[in-house]
């Protein structure tokens, strides 16, 4: 068996040690959803109906200081009458560990189709809102956001 040179041995050992070392240090990350999983979640929620961009407006800050509590507002241009109103609004993400965020159930008693909440965003990604109108149609809006991370992530108290 040919003698491994000292340099080659160290390189090989270093590579193994580095990969072992890295594995020990890296935190186990939860599986992230993918854009296709988001599409699947949308289909599961609203069925096979066609979704047209428009009517619903999703507002999110473009640059987010902390992904733990991101304010979002969803509004739909609708008279909110018995004949014409928003039945529901659904929100989805592409890269959070799972794609669902929230579903709001509205109706003519809401008076106005405008809701706000705070959500978690794991990474820079696209957020999609889909509204369902009383006539059975679906409309969507999508926003691309950037999430910055804190310099020193904390674990616990």
């Amino acid at each position: 068996m040919p003698r491994t040179s000292r340099r080659e041995f160290l390189k090989a050992a270093g590579g193994v040690a580095a990969s072992l070392g890295l594995a020990a240090v890296i935190k186990v990350e939860p599986a992230r959803a993918t854009p296709s999983e988001m599409q699947e979640a949308i289909r599961k929620t609203i069925g096979a109906g066609r979704v047209t961009p428009g009517k619903v407006k999703l507002e999110l800050p473009p640059l987010i200081e902390n992904g733990n509590a991101v304010p979002l507002t969803i509004s739909v241009d609708s008279p909110m009458t018995e004949a014409q109103h928003v039945r529901a609004v659904h929100v989805f993400t592409e890269k959070n560990p799972q794609p669902y965020v929230v579903t709001f159930h509205l109706g003519p008693r809401a008076g106005r189709a405008r809701v706000a909440t705070r959500m978690r965003l794991a990474d820079s990604q696209n957020v999609t809102a889909i509204c369902e109108l009383s006539d059975g149609s679906f409309w969507s809006d999508s926003v691309s956001i950037v999430v910055t991370l804190a310099a020193c992530l904390e674990d616990g108290i």
Binding site: E65, A150, C152
Partner: protein, 257 residues
């Protein structure tokens, strides 16, 4: 000659920067470094998550507790009057202990001595609720910790901790917060570290927390061994930070990223 003068000028400037103190006109609360949306979260009492703890504190204030069966309200009455300005002057000297204590320690001293109840654990829900409730009564008031012959040695000890390099990263608080405030550290802007809003709701914690929690977090961040909750080093540092922020208005419970 000219290049030499320029060089001397640089040294003088550098020395001034190291000597530290941010001039009073340049002092800014952490609020001023936040995004508009985070500021809106703080400004609206119906949206500020810190108010959930204040709400709980309002209930605890009137709840009789301990072997003495006394509520805070039994001695202190309406907190809006009796606690007005109190948080703004803590840490304050405690004659029995012969040293300054912070607000949380003062609350626990009352529990043990006056209510004959057990002290509340640091960062426990109840202690945070009571300190948030008390601190809320100082909203808008100028920070005014008393510095006199009794407290001066502790102020100086706190200042020494602030200026001392610590941890594996070998950083002193002053290097970030006096010399490099306003600059980016990874994704965030470095604030000046004035504790105007404590206890505050930190988005990173997803909870309300005390100034000591934040200080311990910073120490961990520079890879130093954090002092225990209630340690004299932390209380002295709190005193120094409140002195450094003297005159700035309290805005507890604040919201920070």
């Amino acid at each position: 000659m000219r290049p030499l003068i320029g060089l001397v000028g640089v040294f003088v400037l550098a020395a001034a920067a190291i000597a530290g103190e941010i001039s009073p006109s340049e002092r800014k609360s952490g609020y001023d470094f936040m995004a508009r949306e985070t500021r809106a979260m703080q400004d609206d009492d119906t949206a500020n998550p810190g108010m959930l703890w204040v709400l709980e504190g309002t209930t605890l204030w009137t709840r009789a507790t301990g072997a003495a069966g006394r509520a805070c309200a039994d001695c202190h009455g309406d907190a809006r009057a009796s606690m007005k300005g109190v948080a703004a002057r803590y840490p304050a000297f405690d004659a029995a202990k012969g040293r300054p204590v912070n607000l949380e320690q003062r609350i626990n001293a009352c529990r043990v001595d006056r209510q004959q109840a057990s002290p509340l654990a640091y960062e426990s829900r109840e202690l945070l609720a009571l300190s948030a409730f008390v601190a809320r009564q100082s909203r808008g008031m100028p920070i005014a910790a008393t510095i006199d012959d009794r407290t001066r040695p502790f102020l100086e000890a706190g200042g020494a901790t602030y200026e001392r390099r610590q941890g594996q990263l070998n950083l002193a608080c002053s290097q970030c917060h006096d010399t490099n405030w306003g600059r980016q550290l990874a994704g965030n802007v470095i604030p000046q570290a004035h504790p105007t809003g404590y206890p505050l709701y930190r988005l990173e914690w997803q909870s309300l927390g005390s100034l000591q929690r934040r200080l311990r977090g910073c120490l961990t961040g520079i890879r130093a061994e954090p002092y225990e909750y209630g340690a004299p080093e932390l209380v002295d540092l709190e005193l120094y930070l409140m002195w450094r922020a003297r005159g700035m208005p309290m805005d507890a419970p604040a919201v920070r990223p």
